[in-house]
Structures are given as structure tokens and as C-alpha cells.
């Protein structure tokens, strides 16, 4: 009983402080130089805080009880495990044998891929655009996940590399006459160069400084794009070209001497063809990158990224060059961000600096954190959820950054290593490396 009373008292205190905090900023609405009073809002918010704290305080002992109960059953089962444990292990190995498991995994993957490939033919143009944007965020999430999740370097200006890629396509087309296919590798390369240029001096220092320098760098890129009107078009932006289908344009009336996609295949012109094509290219690039990242993680370089994240001093004593390894992760992430930017510019047909503000960086960081730092599957899932969910919950769209911010704090408090426990590529000692 005293426990409940204590929880109640604590919740009351928290609610009182919350009321004090909420009262001036939500209860008094600035309206020009005057105020509008909203008594009910801070009271409701504080009431909500009270209920949540009370619930948390009452549920927490139950969780502890449940956990200890599970611990007890674990103890019981382990005492029985002595006899016949070998046979159990044998059956387990038979059921979850590596061949069986990889079969399940491969068939699941093929099924998912089939769904993803057929998706653009089933969706309307609006949802196709949403799916394309979601895949772009998958790319960005994968890129930032290498930097933050695997190498443990907090990059708060990831949007800068995204902007470099996007403007690489648009300005390359404007000034050098480059097309999408030339810009795709060049945009990635350019972003990687920027990454190295920024990373080389900064990565030698204490890790926290990187966060603030990248934050500043993201803002520098945006300001330069906004102010250097002669080169970047300033706030008015620049238009970006569409990809061609092996040299075939996707326009209704191609330029003289060129053949358009619909003329070549002798089908009626459809505005949606270009979006379907872009989606499929984006999908294949994403799948390819997921594969590459999976391979990289098993390679010495990928292992060095994760080792460096865990303990830099130990790595140095083992002969790993921390700057070079960090730089490779930083450049790799930047390159993927740049490729994402090229796709973004191509899908929008137009870029301007407003697309590359701090909120974009924050959104991608939220994707990586919510996906569980370091988990590729988690990142992909989080990117899809974060971009598609607000489409279904229109009212939620306004609150989404607030909710993601809260979720980031919550994740760091309760699950700092991610919702899905990251599966480390391990080699059983029996099979050898």
C-alpha cells in the first residue's frame, strides 16, 4: 500500500512540475503583442503526464516481477538441461540448420523483392511517388547507418551530402550537360569527396566535435546553395533531368533525331512510365547496396568500423588506423547519401535549398536510431514506416518530428542498442573463419 502511495505522490509531483512547465508556453498563446488564454491545454497535458507517470510507476514493479519469474523458469529448465541436452541440441541444429534457415531467408527475400518489383504497376502515380520517396529514405538511412550505426560517428549534417548529390545532377545538367546516368556515379563520388574533405581534419579529434562540425557543415552547404545565385540559382532552384531508358527519352515529343520510349516500343505514351522506371532503378540500387553493406560488414573493414565504435584505444593498440577506417565509413556513407540525392533530384525534376534543411538530417537520424543503430533490416523498416505512416495519418504529419524526437529520447533510455537486437555476423568456432 505504501508503494502505491509513494507512486501516487511521485506522480503528483511530476504533474505539478509539468503544469509549471506547460503553463506559460501552452496556456498563454502569443497573438501579436497580446495574449490569448488557454487554461484547459496545460491542465490536460499535465493530466496526461500524471496518468503516464502513474501508469509507469505501477507497471514497473510488475515488469520486474515478470522478469524475475522468467528468471526462475530459466533456472528450472537449466537444471533439467543436463540430461539429454546433447539430443536437444542435435534436433535444434537439424531444425534450424544453416541450409534450412538460409532457404527460408532466401525465399522470403525473393517474395519481398517480387512484391517490391510489382508494386509500381499496381499503384497510382501518387502512391508511386510515395514509394519512391520511401526508397530514397531507405538509401539515406543505409548511408547514415554506416556512419552512425556501424562506425559510431554522429553525423548531424548528413543532408549536406544528399544536397551535393541532388545539386550534382541538377547543376551538372545545367552547366556541363550531364545526364542522369553520368551524374549517378559522379554525384556519389562528389559527395564522398566532400565527406573526405570534411572528415579528414575533424575525424582526428574527439568524437563529439564531429557532431557539431557536421551540423555546421550541413548549414554551410544550405547557405551557399541559397546565396550563390549565379551558380546554383539561389532560392529559385534548378531543374533536374530525368533518366533515359538506354538512351531513350521518356517525353511525349522527343527532341529531333531522338526516339522516345513509347515510340520505340510502340505503346501509347504514359506519363507514369518514367516514374515506374525510376522506381525500378532505385529499387535495384537499394537492393545492391543492401547486399554490398552486408558483405562489407563481414569484411575486415566493416569489422574495424564496429570495433572502432566499441573501443578506439583498444583498436589502436591492435594496429588499426582509426582515422583511415573512420574516413572510409564517412566517405562511404556520404557517397550513398549523394546517390540518394541524385535520385531525389531526378524524381522531383527540380531542386531548391528548402529541401535540405536540418529537419531532413534529423529525420534520417531518427530513421537510423529507430531502426536500431547498426541494423540494416531495422533501418529499412524504419525508413518505410517513417515515410509511409504520415501518409495514412494526415493529422499525425504535423506531430511527426515531435514524436520522432520523443522516440529518439525513449530509445536512448530504454533500448540504446536498438529495438531489434543487431545480429552480428559471427563465425562458429568449429567452422573456422
Amino acid at each position: 500500500m505504501t508503494g502505491v502511495a509513494m507512486v501516487l505522490r511521485h506522480s503528483l509531483w511530476v504533474a505539478l512540475v509539468a503544469l509549471l512547465l506547460f503553463f506559460p508556453l501552452t496556456g498563454l498563446l502569443l497573438d501579436g503583442y497580446r495574449l490569448t488564454w488557454r487554461w484547459e491545454l496545460p491542465l490536460q497535458l499535465a493530466g496526461g503526464v500524471f496518468c503516464l507517470t502513474l501508469l509507469g510507476g505501477l507497471v514497473r514493479p510488475l515488469i520486474g516481477y515478470w522478469r524475475s519469474g522468467r528468471g526462475l523458469s530459466g533456472l528450472v529448465s537449466s537444471s533439467f538441461a543436463g540430461e539429454g541436452s546433447a539430443s536437444v541440441a542435435f534436433f535444434l541444429r537439424a531444425a534450424h540448420g544453416s541450409r534450412f534457415r538460409s532457404l527460408v531467408r532466401v525465399s522470403g527475400f525473393v517474395l519481398l523483392l517480387l512484391v517490391a518489383v510489382s508494386l509500381p504497376f499496381l499503384l497510382g502515380k501518387y502512391w508511386l511517388n510515395v514509394a519512391t520517396l520511401a526508397l530514397i529514405y531507405v538509401l539515406l538511412g543505409l548511408g547514415l547507418n554506416i556512419v552512425v550505426g556501424l562506425a559510431g560517428l554522429l553525423d548531424l549534417g548528413f543532408v549536406a551530402f544528399y544536397a551535393v548529390g541532388a545539386y550534382g545532377l541538377a547543376l551538372g545538367h545545367l552547366h556541363l550537360g550531364l545526364g542522369f546516368w553520368e551524374a549517378l556515379p559522379l554525384g556519389g563520388l562528389l559527395a564522398a569527396c566532400f565527406g573526405v574533405l570534411l572528415g579528414f581534419p575533424v575525424l582526428r579529434m574527439h568524437g563529439d566535435y564531429l557532431a557539431i562540425v557536421t551540423l555546421g557543415f550541413g548549414e554551410i552547404i544550405r547557405l551557399v546553395l541559397n546565396n550563390w545565385t549565379a551558380f546554383t540559382g539561389g532560392p529559385n532552384g534548378v531543374s533536374a533531368p530525368f533518366p533515359t531508358f538506354f538512351g531513350l527519352e521518356f517525353s511525349r515529343r522527343p527532341q529531333a533525331g531522338e526516339t522516345a520510349f513509347h515510340q520505340f516500343f510502340d505503346i501509347p505514351f504514359g506519363n507514369v512510365h518514367r516514374y515506374i522506371f525510376l522506381y525500378l532503378v532505385l529499387l535495384s540500387v537499394s537492393v545492391f547496396l543492401i547486399f554490398v553493406i552486408g558483405r562489407l560488414r563481414r569484411m575486415p573493414l566493416g569489422r574495424a568500423w564496429e570495433a572502432l565504435r566499441e573501443d578506439e584505444i583498444a583498436c589502436r593498440s591492435l594496429g588499426i588506423d582509426p582515422v583511415g577506417v573512420k574516413l572510409s565509413a564517412f566517405a562511404m556513407g556520404a557517397a550513398i547519401g549523394g546517390v540518394g540525392g541524385v535520385f531525389f533530384a531526378a524524381s522531383q525534376g527540380f531542386v531548391n535549398p528548402t529541401s535540405f534543411g536540418f529537419h531532413e538530417s534529423a529525420l534520417v537520424l531518427a530513421i537510423v536510431v529507430l531502426g536500431g543503430l547498426g541494423s540494416t533490416v531495422g533501418t529499412v523498416l524504419a525508413a518505410l514506416v517513417v515515410t509511409i505512416l504520415p501518409e495514412f495519418l494526415r493529422d499525425f504529419a504535423d506531430y511527426r518530428i515531435l514524436v520522432f524526437g520523443l522516440a529518439m529520447v525513449g530509445m536512448m533510455i530504454w533500448r540504446p542498442r536498438g529495438l531489434i537486437r543487431p545480429r552480428r555476423p559471427l563465425y562458429p568456432s568449429g567452422e573456422g573463419g
Binding site: 574527439h206 557539431i212 548549414e219 520522432f404
Partner: protein, 308 residues
């Protein structure tokens, strides 16, 4: 060059620098004790700007119109509530982390910073807000104007300098001369040892957040009265610049923060006055990157030793 123009830029730079210095104190104290960048500190300053406008409007609606009384009550209310917010940020976003991964406090800080920005955007609206001019009047040097040329200082700017000096004075006294300050300095030097000697380090961390937020509160009041307009995103750029000031002066050092603020304010003011206004933020960030590359320990800091 016109000596009056240079003089005017010096005045503007000192004002700007005093503001940056006040905010930089919060970064430098938290970094000194916890070894982490409190990204939400810029947002705390932004909250102070909103609170200033709200208290001004509140006092006006109660019919208080004596300028010194309004100033005093607004300052008192804003500083108190901003400090409360700083305390709450530490309680909600940092304390529950305990000894988690190295990235956890940074990500949590970014999270809470997004929360605060959007909290204000949703509760007070996304538009730029303003406050009515409270103190009007200027001092001109020379008083009669030398052929139309003069250096102009507004009363608000004089007040900014006085308040910044007073704030820094009180803070220095607190840290250097009281037992609380001694506990703060002990915690900064060696947290475990301070704890062994009976210092409640959890409480000291709270105190540091409250003090830093209070200084940001003072800065918020002064900036809002000086420029008259603000929105929910001002904490972002000002936060980076104040952090630059803290790094420039040597992170962890209180006089360094103020010195860094003044140097940054002056150089930014000269850059925007004589070179280019559009790129003044780029210039400030370039200073940050330059300092980190060439002198990461800052003007008054000592080199950092990484411990196992």
C-alpha cells in the same frame, strides 16, 4: 576606412559577443562536468525568447507600465522558468541514460532538441513573433555628430552589456566563492573522487544545467528586447555559434566562454560590415572548423587527454 563605421562595428560586435558569451557559458559548464555537448541548449535559449514575449504581454495585460518594473519582472520570470526548463531537460533526457553507450547522450540531446522546437512550433505557431519596443533612445558619440557621422548605442545595448557583465559576475562569484561552486569545480576535476568525498554529483549536474539555462534565459531576454523578433528555429544557428564561442575560448573554461563570445561577435560583425552579410553564418561556422583543426584546446583551455 571611416573610423565611425569601425567604431559602430565594434559596438555591434561587442553586443553580439556578450550574447554569445552568455549562451556559451551553458555549453562550457555542461561540457566541463559531463564531457558532452548539450545540443538542447540552443533550444533553451529559444524558449527564453518566447517566455520574454509572453511575460511582456502578460504584464501589459495586467496594466503594469513602469519600464523598470516590467524589465525586472520579465527578467525574473523568464530566468526562473528557463532555468526550470533546463532542469527538466536534464531530468528527462540525460539523467535516465546512466552510463550507456557513448552516442546515447548525443542522440538523446538531438531528440530533445527536436521535441522542444516542435513543441514551440505546435503550441505557439510557426510564424515569426515579435515584442513591442520597450526601451527607446540612443546615445550618440560624439553627441552633436561630427558632420553627420557618429557611433550610435541604444539604451538596450547599454543594458545588454551591463546585464551580461552582471550575469557573468554573479556566476563567477557562485563558482569561485561559494561552497556550491567548490563542489562544481571538484566534480569537474574528478567526478568519482568528488563523489567519494561526499559531493552529491547528481545534484551538481542539475545545478550546472540550471545555471547554464539561467544564463541562456538572460541572453534570451536581452536578444528579444534588442531585435524584437524571433521564431521557433532561432536556437539552432545561435546554438552552433555559441558553441563555437565556447570552443574558441577553450571548452570547460568560464572566462574562455566570454572571451570566445567577444572574439566571435567582433569578427562576425566586422565580416558582415565590411565583407558580406549573406555569408556571415558561413564565416562563423568556418571559424568553428578552423579552431577545431588548428587549436582544438581553444584560447584559454588546456589540451584534452583521452582516458581509458
Amino acid at each position: 576606412m571611416d573610423p565611425f563605421l569601425i567604431g559602430q562595428q565594434v559596438v555591434n560586435g561587442l553586443i553580439l559577443g556578450a550574447i554569445y558569451g552568455l549562451i556559451a557559458v551553458g555549453y562550457t559548464m555542461v561540457y566541463g562536468i559531463m564531457g558532452m555537448i548539450n545540443f538542447a541548449h540552443g533550444e533553451v535559449y529559444m524558449i527564453a525568447a518566447y517566455l520574454t514575449a509572453i511575460f511582456l504581454a502578460l504584464l501589459a495585460s495586467f496594466g503594469v507600465d513602469s519600464v523598470p518594473v516590467v524589465l525586472f519582472l520579465t527578467l525574473l520570470g523568464t530566468v526562473a522558468f528557463t532555468a526550470l526548463h533546463g532542469w527538466a531537460v536534464e531530468r528527462v533526457a540525460y539523467r535516465p541514460l546512466g552510463r550507456s553507450t557513448r552516442l546515447a547522450p548525443l542522440i538523446s540531446a538531438i531528440g530533445i532538441s527536436l521535441v522542444l522546437q516542435n513543441y514551440l512550433r505546435l503550441s505557439q505557431g510557426a510564424r515569426t513573433q515579435g515584442v513591442p519596443p520597450l526601451l527607446e533612445g540612443v546615445i550618440r558619440i560624439p553627441a552633436e555628430g561630427a558632420g553627420g557621422h557618429f557611433v550610435q548605442i541604444t539604451y538596450i545595448q547599454v543594458m545588454i552589456v551591463i546585464m551580461a557583465l552582471a550575469g557573468m559576475g554573479v556566476l563567477t562569484w557562485l563558482i569561485q566563492a561559494t561552497s556550491l561552486g567548490r563542489a562544481c569545480r571538484a566534480t569537474q576535476q574528478d567526478r568519482v573522487m568528488a563523489e567519494l568525498l561526499g559531493v552529491d554529483t547528481g545534484r551538481i549536474i542539475s545545478v550546472v544545467f540550471v545555471l547554464g539555462a539561467a544564463m541562456a534565459g538572460v541572453a534570451g531576454v536581452l536578444v528579444t528586447l534588442n531585435y524584437g523578433s524571433f521564431d521557433f528555429f532561432i536556437g539552432f544557428v545561435t546554438g552552433i555559434k555559441a558553441f563555437t564561442a565556447a570552443v574558441l575560448g577553450g571548452i570547460g573554461s568560464l572566462p574562455g566562454a566570454m572571451l570566445g563570445g567577444l572574439v566571435l561577435g567582433l569578427s562576425e560583425s566586422f565580416f558582415s560590415g565590411f565583407v558580406n552579410t549573406d555569408y556571415k553564418d558561413v564565416f562563423a561556422f568556418a571559424i568553428l572548423i578552423g579552431v577545431l583543426i588548428f587549436r582544438p584546446s581553444g584560447l584559454m583551455g588546456s589540451p584534452e587527454v583521452e582516458k581509458v
